[in-house]
Symmetry: C2
Subunit: 204 residues, 2 copies
């Protein structure tokens, strides 16, 4: 049985209820850990579910952040160093990944607090999550302030891409399901996936 | 066995291969049908996999579009009428949904071409997809041109929200898995999901 809610009703909902609902209605989401460090090497790790591809040539990816959230350490580190990592989440680490959303003080690294291992490689200055099997090294490109609700869009370019060799298909498609990457909905629900099908390029 | 590619290698890849790869690396994606009409009532339907929640108060949602794609009919209709619908995709309609990405001429409605039914309700001027069980009526709010790669970010506000009554949880979470909503990866792969767990609000 379908029901509906309209804007005035949505706006009178209790705040946390509306947050759960509106975070659910956009569909399944990418959920990743963003790793950063400040210039002194203090590390930070935060979970984001607003990561979106915005173009392949050059390879650009963005995410949206609230300015007043715990994730602000992520933003200040990105602006300070110009680099960050995006790390896919699998079913072995989703509980730790979720725990990074707790409000730890700036001097506490979420890597240590939640029990995930830092990994540094190929001279990239930001830390990867060792337990993650698909990892992206990103160069910060642009910050766009969304004045409509004071959120911030952060755009970066893929500098390095790490993935399991046997997950890359002949045509360039990367099988992230085979790699064990999971998805999320709302603020707190995590999901594995099951492929229905890959379809051909559509022609009229 | 983990392998890696870096920026110079990515940039020398064959274009369609890079498109498949870079569209895959951001994680699982929301995939929805956006329904529009022009002022004469000519309808358009297009599939998008770049839909992201950007805030709950007010309820805002955005998507990214390439300016040169078939989806340009979507943008011109949105700018003309100020309204559009976002319709979740389930396993009964993902093939038709994918087919809307073919380059149909402006005078052909993808609703008719792919065999999905238009639905109008509550005086909203844009058409919903009848076969979709979660449907959003959106008022256009803002267009942001991303000069970095000439894509366009379209921001809208949720005006009406339709969903199966038994999918709304007490705390406001909408169980879109129970509603049959699916996810996608890359340019052409569709996935059902299986919940691992909902987790509690994280505290240090």
């Amino acid at each position: 049985m379908q029901t509906h809610l309209n804007y005035p009703v949505l706006m009178t909902m209790e705040q946390s209820k509306r947050a759960h609902l509106i975070n659910s209605v956009g569909g399944f989401k990418s959920v990743c850990l963003i790793g950063t460090a400040d210039n002194l090497g203090n590390t930070n790790l935060a979970i984001f579910s607003s990561i979106v591809h915005i173009g392949a040539n050059p390879p650009l990816i963005c995410f949206i952040m609230r300015p007043d959230s715990v994730e602000r350490h992520t933003l200040s580190n990105i602006l300070e160093t110009g680099v960050y990592t995006i790390n896919h989440i699998n079913k072995n680490i989703y509980r730790q990944a979720h725990q990074t959303s707790a409000r730890y003080p700036k001097n506490i690294s979420e890597f240590d607090a939640v029990g995930l291992a830092k990994e540094y490689k190929n001279d990239f200055k930001a830390p990867f999550v060792k337990e993650s099997v698909i990892q992206l090294a990103i160069n910060f490109k642009e910050r766009i302030d969304l004045t409509i609700n004071n959120t911030i869009m952060v755009i970066g370019e893929i500098n390095q891409l790490y993935f399991p060799e046997d997950c890359l298909c002949e045509d360039g498609y990367l099988d992230i399901e085979k790699a064990g990457t999971i998805s999320c909905t709302g603020l707190d629900s995590y999901h594995t996936t099951q492929r229905l099908q890959r379809l051909n390029y559509a022609k009229p």
